[in-house]
Amino acid sequence: MRAFEAPFERVTNRNFPKGPEVLAPGHGACQGCGEALALRLVLKALGTEFIAVSATGCMEVCTSRFPNTSWQMPWIHVAFENAAAVASGVEAATRVLKRKGRGHDQRIPVVALAGDGGTADIGLQALSGALERFHENFVYVCLDNEAYMNTGFQRSSATPFRASTTTSPVGACSKGQHTWKKNMPAIAAAHGIPYVATASPAFHLDLMNKIRRAAAVEGPAYVHVFSPCPTGWLMKPELAVESARLAVSSRIFPLYEVLDGSYRINRPAPNPTPLADYFRAQGRYRHLTEDDVAFIARRVNSDYERLVDLAERRPVS
């Protein structure tokens, strides 16, 4: 079965799952947390008949203070760097138990959830192993807030160029992060898995349908979700969704899918909004000059053009 034929019920505004929150209110995420919103939408798309595996991080710690838990489905947290490996074991177990008649007679998606540090840095090896082994019911969701927010806003390899963090600070000899954001979706796609997607909580239906597709495909799927962090980005909390929207319209975080190696841009931005509009609300970019913005825009546009090129040469059909 090809990834784009995987059967799933599309979420629309009309049939939106408005039942009880499966990430229950009462968790300790910051005010206006874009990652909590992304996670809430991811879980809402899935319901409760799946198994969630969390890496250590903001979403893990703010939802699981004993004896409380926000998770309405079976959930396990083991450590920081190994959500993909734990999920591999869970996935194998559910399949074997079903086969041996000791499990439930249904397909149980296993969904690993980690931040950008737990994915692009410390968890990369475990993730690569899991994608390569081609686990049948395996979904990996990276909730990317572009730094180690849980430990106090240190840079990760997913921190964007020139963003100021506590370990890539702006100073007399530094203009913030001096490396470009690691392209995790491309790394995931290089494993030849059936489904890779980027998503944003500002486009909630798009995000939820990508998650549903990821859970429906046979074989591993990787979804990279943009997760604005007002606290770490030095931004007003009410701007979390707007910043996510501007990231897409300015091309700095394009929304696209890779289905069986074919590309599709979901929210094309032929006439992008100015990057400065996206940067302006965020204190982590406060030091940028017009020249800096123009320099970044060149790279952002060239990355975007490459995606357009891939989508034209290898369209989903």
Binding site: E49, F66, P67, P74, V86, G89, E91, Q125
Partner: protein, 388 residues
């Protein structure tokens, strides 16, 4: 395949995992564990074991996947050695806290640096404080039998903790020995199907791996400490049941000619066979010497060991791991700590033996007996057979 057979001890362990009908095996190759996991991969490939073999990309992921699999209700096995066990160490500590009953066989091999392939106990001692039950096998039959017993003990609802079994690398894992291979119906009587005490189940969701703030962490850790201590009675019960079904008797602590011994040597693992031969030879010369072997290392079998040492004037503890910067080895330290408030007053000496694959000989034990009877107030453990 049942009855008396000659086979590699590693293969016998893999066959025990087959007889236990394990569901998931997650492993990464490392010398000298490889023969165990190769055989398991073969059993799965041949359809002789209905399990998923996850060829993980590291030992860290081997233990992580094992935790996930066991948490999801699968009977789970892994095996490793040396640097591999060191790499999985972080996860080794998590498994007991989550109360997932993984069984792990460790083919004991020295730890780097310098890098070495030979056998000692420096790898497994990193598991010492983590909350796993820990056993040491002496021979091939025991390796097979304890692998079966490990599943039963780990999965007992009173225990629900991971169990590791140490086999001396090469000198036990790579030896061909005659073993009595039990038949499946006997094994099924001994080892009931796995009914997890905690399980990730979509019909009864739980959250595992919660955060413990200071107002409950100490309580959670004490609960684990108590669980591990009380696991010993399940060990004894499982050994009794094993004896009833298979006719082979195991105890947490074994003794050999120790009843009237003035000098008692304490050992673990496969060198104990050499030690027994040495004891016989020394007895022939009129020395009142005996052997006490720890089969169970964690939880530490306090009562059994004190009972075994009750009549001894001299206790000589053999260690195969150095605690660098400390005068005793881990077993020596443990025995001294146990004895000092017990009312017993033997002269305790401690010896490092067989490090990194150095041969352990009968002469080594004869030397140890002499030193144990002669040296008083030993401050630091003595290296035996090391050229200075």
């Amino acid at each position: 395949m049942a009855g008396r057979l000659a086979m590699d001890v590693s293969v016998a362990v893999a066959e025990a995992v087959r007889l236990a009908n394990a569901d998931v095996i997650a492993a990464y190759p490392i010398t000298p564990q490889t023969r165990i996991v190769e055989r398991l991969a073969e059993l799965v490939a041949n359809g002789q074991l209905d399990a998923d073999y996850i060829p993980v990309e590291s030992e860290h992921s081997a233990m992580s996947s094992s935790i996930g699999a066991a948490a999801a209700g699968a009977r789970t096995f892994t095996a490793t050695s040396s640097q591999g066990l060191a790499l999985m160490n972080e996860m080794v500590y998590v498994a007991p806290g989550l109360r997932v009953p993984i069984v792990m066989v460790v083919a004991n091999r020295a730890i780097s640096a310098p890098i070495a392939l030979g056998n000692d106990h420096s790898d497994i001692m990193s598991v010492r404080d983590s909350g796993w039950l820990s056993f040491f096998a002496e021979n091939g039959q025991e390796a097979l039998d304890l692998t079966l017993a490990a599943f039963r003990i780990a999965e007992d609802p009173e225990v629900s903790l991971p169990v590791c079994l140490s086999l001396d690398g090469f000198i036990l894992t790579h030896i061909t020995e005659p073993v009595l291979m039990p038949d499946q119906t006997e094994v099924d009587r001994f080892l009931p199907p796995f009914k997890p005490s905690v399980q990730l189940d979509i019909k009864d969701p739980i959250s595992m791996g919660l955060w413990a703030p200071p107002d409950v962490y100490a309580e959670a850790r004490k609960a684990m400490a108590l669980a591990l201590f009380s696991a010993k009675k399940t060990v004894v019960k499982a050994f009794d049941e094993f004896n009833r079904i298979f006719g082979r008797r195991y105890r947490p602590v074994e003794t050999y000619r120790q009843e009237d011994a003035e000098t008692v040597i304490i050992s673990m693992g496969s060198i104990s066979e050499t030690a027994m031969t040495a004891v016989d030879e020394m007895r022939d010369l009129g020395h009142k010497v005996g052997l006490v072997r720890l089969r169970l290392w964690r939880p530490f079998p306090e009562e059994e060991l004190l009972a075994a040492l009750a009549g001894a004037k001299n206790v000589a503890v053999v260690d195969r791991h150095l605690i660098l910067g400390c005068g005793s080895g881990p077993v020596g330290l443990e025995v001294k700590s146990l004895v000092c408030n017990s009312g017993l007053r033997p002269n305790i000496t401690n010896f490092f033996l067989g490090l990194g694959g150095r041969d352990v000989t009968r002469a080594n034990f004869k030397y140890i007996r002499e030193r144990a009877a002669g040296v008083r107030n030993q401050l630091r453990a003595e290296f035996v057979g090391v050229y200075e």
